[in-house]
Structure formats: structure tokens, C-alpha cells
Symmetry: C2
Subunit: 469 residues, 2 copies
């Protein structure tokens, strides 16, 4: 059993290991090369009866676990979206773990509650959301979007759903390119997936407001009750930007809850030149973006903002005797701002990140990633074997290898093959998507340490393997 | 901005700070003494434009944040339930933060998915749940119970609620002493709080099976559809134990989902002598307990077990193109086992804890806490000024100062006063509850470093302040 003196010794060892890991991460293959079952088969079927030495545990971590890790912090990470951490954020997490405070209500950790209030207000200012919106840290955008759909449900039923159950056929609207978490939340919140309308998108993969209007009218004519619209700033497949102004006006006209999912794209609003996408933000009821994606803050840290906190709190609040305190009227008890009662002190790492980089430092990182994406886009455009598959709105480039006169299936097979060969190099990791039925490779740039040379290497690998196909 | 070399330097400094914190934690008042607004008023209204030095940030952490921390790891922690961490767990969290892996599906971190499968099987064996039950780590018991209520909803409607929405009046049953998270989950899942039946408890605060049966019959007669029963092993107010065998038989007879909330109490099942409460476990459909409460594992780590994983997965699964991989048939993709898509590598710290302490080490800790609670209970019984308010089933003692011939309100005021005086000592922190309308002080023992002397000190403080009242 590890005592407190050993904590100091192994703590130093682990810090050095992480520092070395950061420095030598390029020696690892980005995507783990283990096969299903490899890790499981290396571990005992039963728990140890007796205490084991940390030396042995740490050795197993390095020998068994590390080969099964896909390295999200590798500069060759171009898969999915980034989930970048940073030295400051890791150290914030370390202190959070050491304190081990449970931050469900103000009284159980006043500093956690008040720091969360302060850094969320900083974040609001940093991305230019309207004054008066207030924020709370959620674990994921999935959860934040579920919170939005729940408040929308209560808002549409005058809080009857909470009381008597979900009985009315309420409808929800989002684009056909929206994230799967919206489908999931629609199911969880009891709307039923049949009541989610998938609104067509234009050639830029952005929601078409006229189609939204049409779908709402159609449902109204059927006697259904439209409740909520979810727009996206930076869709997962191609980072498309839904137009907030016309969507907001439709929501306003029909009195619908307006939620905006900017999980990835929201970070770009740190830049004045990208803030245009937030035009119409004064019509938004709720908004989520993930500092744990592209703002150097360890997962989990999802920033959820609402215009009217009373509606959010009324959706969730419960008042058992064992949680009552004398301060309830004057402080934020974040247990009532979401699903979970228990909460980690997540504001700490965010505070460390914002202060350690400064707004300017974060802006510089985002600007550099946008520049690298433009560079990569240019290379794709210059090479006639390839085609761009979507506008480059942020730091994601969707592209593929072309082939004339063959079926879409054939092109998909060709690009799957290319993608697999590139990923097997171990130097980079990219993933794919489907855009209106057409296969596309996604080059998502956003890892903290990704530099021009890594983007260039990715392109070289892609070109070389394309030539061999 | 903090670079990687500085990470090493400050990492060592922070490790030493945490080691010192563990050693000197008794110098802090358990409950923070700040007033609402104190922390907020010490922090700037706007984010810093320029990067700040870590020296300055860390100094502010120590000067501004620490006074606002309520010290959950203090050996004088007797409030709520414990949320104990441990040196091994903090180090596990450190590595998790350093790796920064996003563990939504097997492919994005094979080791995380497989280690989770292995340690959850270890846990199942450790507490003696039936063979065949499988586990997944959730963030909180609130979330796990919501998952249970969602699967119960789908199970009762043949997955129609997910499809067409929640339309049938489904009813849920739990004891009047059950945790508020059940009320919250009933609202979120669209049952409506009016369809939650609060079943009376006996003089031990345990659910009365005959009353459950009556409530179900009553609803059936009204044409309602009973869907789910939630039993508790260790209620929050008094750690009452609902009898699983008769409840399970009722569930079986009426074909209801049987969920068990053992958030705190589950850890005691590490001991053979406490495993009797799990008699009837073969009838359980889902079960949650929190290693982050009383098993030395940093929050968040809530262990959710189900008998039939297919029903759980069918409740949540979604299949967007950008998440499809070639391994989906042979691995666990835990994104489909709960609400969130994104997931931290939480299995690592649990693996560190189980191996570092061994099953025997964990059993010894639990046994010692149970012994301390018995000791405290004895002191209460010996002092005629006090009365015990509930059976001591685990390591929680509910008691209060008596006063003959006065109203319940007067007694509540007296004990509130006593509690506040004791807590203001800064040496200990206890909280209160209400048991069938009667005020009770809760002495919850379970912090890792709590020893007999701390329990003794708490009792001395209570006696001294009681004498002065």
C-alpha cells in the first residue's frame, strides 16, 4: 500500500514521465496498433488480494497500457476533432485531484463555485456572447445539449413534462449534418426520434432556413407542437456554419427554444475575424462550446451558456433536507444547473489555462491552426488528383482522392484504402466521414504542438500513398 | 506561457505541495470560513490579455482559492458522505490528464476500453454481484440511475419511447428515504414526478415491501403501467437497507425493472460479513455504487452494473458515419453505454487503487470505519443527553441532543445551534438530515485518514458544546 511519503517519490517520477512523454511523443505511433483483446489478455482475470508495489503497477502501465493508447496529444493528430491538453491544464487537474473536493453546492467548496462563475464570465467575454448570458461547466456537449432539450421541453409545456410526464408530441429541428448527440438527447428527453426533423442543408452543408420554416409549418399543420431548434457552428463532418440570424428569427416568430452547438467551432470566436458567425447571438437561448476540444483544457470541460438561468434551474432543482444550507439564496449551487449532483472542481484547470496563455496566447494558437488548414487546403487544390469536399471554415479540411468514371462505392474503397495506409505509418492519424453520401477524408488540425512540418508530413504521406494506389 | 520545461519544474513543486497538503491538512479548518462573494471579489472581472507566469497563478491558488476550499480529505470530515481520494488515485488521475486521451470508443483508446472492462469485472467479483453482470464507469450515481430509468422506460415500452416519445403513463417506485437523484432522473427521463411513488418505510427507514405491492396494485387498478422499482442499500439520510429479496420478488411478479442504488453502501459488500444485504441480487437488473465515495478513488468514478448489456446499449446507441470503425462487433464502445459521447480514462485510477491497496487493504479500511462508527454509537448510547436516531448499518451514525417537553422545532433549533458551533471549531464537519420529520445530526465516517482520535475529538467537541447550550 502506498503511503504519503511514497506519493512524493512516485509523484516526481510520474511528472518526469509525463514531461518525457510530451517531449518524445512523436516516437509513438499516433494510433495504437494493438488488436482487440490484446490488453485484456495481458491482465489478470481476478483482482489482487494483497497490495502491490507502485513500481510494479507503474511498470505494467508502461508495458501493457501505453501500447494500447491512441495518442491524442501527438502533433500528428488529425483525427475526429482535437482534444488538446496543455502543461498548465494537466497541472490544474493534478491540484483538483489532490484537493479531492466534491463541488455539488457552494458550501461544499465555495472557491469552486465562485471560480466557476468568474471563469465562465471570462469565457463569455472572450468569445463575445451577449452580456447577461451565464455559464456552467458541463462534462460534454452531449450533456449540455441534453440540458438544452430538457429546458426546451419544460419551456414548451410550462413545466408540465417534469410534473406529469412527457405527453405532448413536441418536435425538434436540426440540420441533417448535426451531431449524433442531438439524436441521443432527443431520445433521452422523451421527445422520440420520430419527432426530430432533419433539415436539409445547402451545398456548404449549412442548414437552409426556408426548409426549417417549411418543416415547422408542416408540423403545425399536423397539430404537432414545435419546441426547439438546434443550430451548429462547425458541424462534425465538415465544420459547416448554420446561419444564426435567419434561424433565430424563425425561432423568435414561432416562440421556439434556440440552442446552438458550437462544440468545436466556438473556440474560433476568440478571434474578431471569426466572430461574424455569432451574429444573431442575442436570439440564442442556450449555447455550448468545448474548451476541452480546441482550447488547451483537459477533457472534461464543456462550457454551457444560457440566457435565462431560472429556466435551467427550474428544470433540474430538487430540495432534499440534507442538501439545504443557509446560503442558498445568494450563491450558485451548480447541482441545480445540470444532471449530476456530484461535480469535480473543473474551473481550476480552465483558470490555469486562460491565465497561463492569456487571451492573446489562445488567439495565436487558433490563428496558427487556421493558417495551417489554409495551407493544406491550398496543397489539395493544387494537386489535380485530389478534390476538396467542403468549405474550410475553421481548421478542418475535407478532401479525397478523385477517380473519374467509377462508382461512389469504388471511390470510397479507394479512399478507405488510402486512409488506412496513411494511418498505418504511425506518423499521423486522420479519420473519415460521409458528406451527402460522398466519402471524405477529414484533416482536423488543432493539436497544441502541431506545427507546419507535421501538416506537411501528413500531406507528403497522403501524396506518396496516393501515388502507389 | 508555460512551456514543457516549466511543466517539469512546476510539476515537482505541485507534487510537493500536495504531499505537504496531505501531511498538514489538519492545520486547515475542515469547512471553509469564507463568506459568499469573498472569492469572487478577489478575482478580476476580465480575463488577462497577456500570459501570466505560473508563479503568480500558483500564488493566487494558495492565497485566494485555498481559503475557499472545504477540505473533503481532512480526517475530521464527517459531513454528507465521504469522497475519499488516495495517493495512488491522485497519481492515476495525473497520468490520465497527461495522456489526455478521449475514450469514447475502443479505437480512440483501446487500453482505456479494455482496462475498463477488466477492472469492472474485478469490482463485480470484489462485491459479490452475480456472475454475468457487466459494468461501465459513469460519472455519478445520478447519471447511472438516469441510465437505469431510461432502460426501464424502453423496456416497458418495447423501445417505443425512444422512437415516438414518452406517451404512456409509466410509474416508478422508490422509498420515501431514497436519494433526490431518483426524483431528478424521473423528471429528466420524462416519467413526470407525479408518477413517482414514494413508498413508506418501517421504523428502520427501510422500504416496506407490502406497501410497494399495494402501490403497484393501486396503479394497475387505475390503468397505469408500473415500470421500475429503485431500492437503496444505504440511504443518504440514515444508510437504511431496503430488503432486496421481497422487493425483487415483487418486481419479478409484475415484470418491473429492478434498479439498486448502493452509491455509498455498496463498498461495504467488500466484506463477507456485510454481503447479506445483496441476497436476492440475482433478481437485480441494474446496480450502482460509487468507488469515489468510500473506496479511495477520486471523484468521478461511479460503477454501474447491468444484467443485460444489450438493453442498455439499445437505449443509447447511435451510428453516425464518423464514428464507425472496423472493430465495432468485437469490442466495447462505451459511448453506447451511457449519456456522454466523450469519456475520460477513468479506469486507470481505479486499477491503481485496487492494485495499490489490494482487496485486503480496502477491506481493512472499511472494517476500521465500521468499528469507529460502532464506537461512536456506543458513546451516544452511554450519554443520556443524546439519542440515536437510526440503526447504524454502515459507518454513519444519526443522533441528536434530546430535550424533554419541547416541540420538534425547538429540538431542531437546538441541534442546528449545536451543529453550527461544532463545525465552527474548524476541527470537524458534520451535516444534518430529517428522518420522518425529526431533525438528526449525521456523523459519516469514511475518510481515508480518519482514525479513532479524530472520532474521539468529534465526540468531545459535541459533548462540550452540548454542555454549554
Amino acid at each position: 500500500m502506498m503511503d504519503q511519503e511514497n506519493f512524493r517519490r512516485y509523484g516526481h517520477e510520474f511528472i518526469d514521465w509525463i514531461a518525457d512523454y510530451f517531449e518524445k511523443i512523436e516516437e509513438y505511433p499516433v494510433r495504437s496498433t494493438v488488436q482487440p483483446g490484446d490488453i485484456k489478455n495481458s491482465l489478470p482475470d481476478n483482482p489482487p488480494v494483497n497490495a502491490e508495489e507502485m513500481d510494479k503497477i507503474f511498470a505494467d502501465f508502461k508495458e501493457i497500457i501505453i501500447p494500447g493508447i491512441t495518442h491524442w496529444q501527438h502533433p500528428g493528430w488529425f483525427a475526429y476533432f482535437p482534444a488538446n491538453n496543455s502543461p498548465a491544464s494537466v497541472l490544474g487537474e493534478l491540484l483538483t485531484a489532490g484537493l479531492g473536493a466534491q463541488c455539488m453546492i457552494w458550501q461544499t467548496s465555495p472557491a469552486a463555485a465562485e471560480l466557476e462563475e468568474v471563469v465562465m464570465e471570462w469565457l463569455r467575454q472572450m468569445i463575445g456572447l451577449p452580456k447577461g448570458m451565464v455559464g456552467v461547466i458541463q462534462d460534454t456537449a452531449s450533456t449540455a445539449t441534453l440540458c438544452a432539450l430538457l429546458t426546451a421541453r419544460e419551456n414548451a409545456t410550462d413545466f408540465a413534462a417534469n410534473r406529469v410526464g412527457m405527453r405532448q408530441p413536441l418536435t425538434v429541428y436540426t440540420s441533417e449534418e448535426a451531431h449524433s448527440s442531438i439524436n441521443k438527447a432527443v431520445k433521452i428527453a422523451g421527445y422520440g426520434i420520430d419527432n426530430l426533423r432533419s433539415i436539409p442543408t445547402d451545398h456548404n452543408f449549412a442548414l437552409i432556413p426556408e426548409e426549417l420554416e417549411k418543416a415547422i409549418e408542416n408540423d403545425l399543420n399536423k397539430g404537432l407542437q414545435p419546441a426547439c431548434v438546434v443550430a451548429t457552428l462547425g458541424t462534425t463532418s465538415s465544420t459547416a456554419i448554420d446561419p444564426l440570424v435567419p434561424i433565430g428569427e424563425i425561432c423568435h416568430r414561432h416562440n421556439l427554444w434556440f440552442h446552438v452547438d458550437a462544440a468545436f467551432g466556438g473556440t474560433a470566436a476568440l478571434l474578431d475575424e471569426k466572430r461574424g458567425m455569432l451574429s444573431g447571438a442575442e436570439m440564442i437561448d442556450s449555447f455550448v462550446f468545448n474548451p476541452h476540444k480546441w482550447m488547451l483544457t483537459n477533457f472534461d470541460c464543456s462550457a454551457y451558456f444560457v440566457k435565462n438561468k431560472e429556466l435551467l434551474i427550474r428544470t433540474f432543482e430538487i430540495h432534499p433536507e440534507y442538501l439545504k444550507t443557509g446560503h442558498d439564496a445568494v450563491v450558485n449551487n451548480y447541482r441545480d444547473w445540470g444532471i449530476q449532483l456530484g461535480r469535480r472542481f473543473r474551473a481550476l484547470k480552465l483558470w490555469f489555462v486562460i491565465r497561463s496563455y492569456g487571451v492573446q496566447g489562445l488567439q495565436e494558437m487558433v490563428r496558427e491552426h487556421l493558417r495551417l488548414a489554409e495551407l493544406f487546403k491550398g496543397w489539395v487544390e493544387e494537386d489535380s488528383r485530389f478534390e476538396l469536399m467542403a468549405p474550410v471554415n475553421f481548421s478542418l479540411v475535407c478532401f479525397r482522392l478523385k477517380k473519374a468514371g467509377v462508382s461512389e462505392e469504388e471511390i470510397a474503397r479507394l479512399n478507405t484504402d488510402l486512409l488506412e495506409k496513411v494511418n498505418c505509418s504511425g506518423r499521423v492519424y486522420l479519420t473519415h466521414t460521409s458528406l451527402k453520401g460522398r466519402y471524405a477524408i477529414r484533416m482536423a488540425i488543432g493539436q497544441r504542438t502541431t506545427a507546419e512540418k507535421h501538416v506537411r508530413e501528413a500531406w507528403e504521406l497522403i501524396r506518396r500513398h496516393a501515388a502507389a494506389l
